[in-house]
């Protein structure tokens, strides 16, 4: 009787294994033949889940139901302070734009900044184990593979990897072991992603990289990040430079999706 029970268990286990294998092979084959239709379908369904939860969260936050009067007053004060500093930054931004425009007029140069589409971030970059996130735009909105994904004008986060009809999967340039060349202090250096929005560059000591230096993607002129830390010993010929993301990734709500455009500045002859 014990042997019979053992044989039954083993045959049940074998059956479940082959059933699972059959399901897996079917899904993989469907994925291959339809070029990712299963993934895109799952993301489209997930988009409804994310959208609903975000709506509920926003409504709850706005109502202040779970906050005490003291907490609301504290939030109010913090928001007023933040607004005042943003107004100052806006003024500085306007001054810089005016200066930029007058310089371009002097050089007779026209800036060809590619215009993009604003897409909602459905899944936060921190949720994915692959440094990817899902955005709420797809082929229906003319989003294409390899489109740039910008946190703000001039600040690039990564590129689109897969596109469905209404959603797309974007990959961060800081994905682990993603490599590319970047510009730091006008020097072309190899960059390696380290995950969590960060990357590493090995810079020659003579380049004198400083915290706060901007890091650019050469072919686009867009900023990839900012130097956050420089690990340096005086005897080292190369310094290890930590590149921090250009924005607060956990708070990312919207991104701009832009078709790649060779060059951003055209000088009129």
């Amino acid at each position: 009787m014990t042997n019979l029970r053992r044989n039954n268990n083993q045959s049940r286990l074998r059956l479940s294994f082959f059933l699972a294998l059959f399901i897996a092979v079917s899904v993989f084959a469907t994925e291959y033949v339809t070029h990712g239709a299963v993934r895109n379908g799952v993301r489209d369904v997930a988009a409804a889940v994310w959208g609903t939860t975000q709506g509920v969260y926003d409504a709850t936050e706005a109502s202040g139901f779970f906050k005490s009067k003291v907490a609301l007053a504290r939030d109010n004060k913090a928001l007023r302070t933040e607004r005042d500093s943003l107004l100052t930054m806006q003024f500085q931004n306007d001054v810089l734009r005016a200066e930029n425009a007058s310089l371009r007029a002097f050089l007779q140069a026209h800036e060809m900044r590619p215009t993009g589409k604003i897409a909602a971030v459905l899944s936060r970059p921190s949720v994915s184990p692959y440094s990817t996130f899902v955005i709420g735009m797809g082929t229906a909105d003319d989003v294409r593979v390899d489109d740039w994904v910008l946190a703000a004008p001039g600040l690039v986060l990564g590129s689109v990897q897969e596109v469905g009809e209404h959603t797309a999967l974007a990959s961060l340039y800081s994905a682990p072991d993603y490599t590319r060349d970047v510009l730091v202090r006008d020097a072309l250096l190899p960059y390696v992603g380290r995950g969590s929005g960060n990357g590493i560059v090995r810079a020659p000591r003579d380049l004198n990289v400083q915290v706060g230096d901007m890091v650019y993607v050469p072919e686009s002129g867009l900023a990839l990040g900012v130097v956050g830390h420089v690990s340096a010993k005086p005897e080292d010929a190369y310094h290890e430079v930590l590149i921090a993301p250009p924005t607060n990734l956990p708070a990312l709500r919207f991104v701009e999706v832009v078709h790649p455009d060779p060059g951003t500045v055209r000088i009129d002859e």
Partner: protein, 88 residues
């Protein structure tokens, strides 16, 4: 709550959490449980993670890496599960 309901509850929480919290947390939790119990649903949760977040060639060119890893934990390490069971 009987064991079947408990199992369904744990799998449901893990599957829902991959949408909102870092996916490695439910994956590690399911892996730990799979080392002790025959938890084939862990493969389904890992597959969901890969469908949502993994690009075509996610991990050094390997597609569906979380799924493959969970299959190894659930099935390949199955013979060692009895040795890992405490008081079972």
């Amino acid at each position: 709550m009987n064991s079947r309901m408990m199992r369904a509850f744990i799998v449901g929480v893990a599957a829902a959490s991959v949408f909102f919290i870092p996916a490695w947390i439910p994956l590690v939790g399911m892996s730990v449980l799979a080392l002790r119990y025959p938890l084939w649903e862990a493969v389904a949760v890992a597959f969901l993670v890969d469908l949502l977040y993994a690009p075509h060639a996610a991990f050094f060119g390997i597609p569906f890496p979380a799924t493959i890893l969970m299959v190894i934990v659930v099935w390949v390490l199955r013979p060692w599960r009895a040795q890992l069971a405490v008081g079972a």
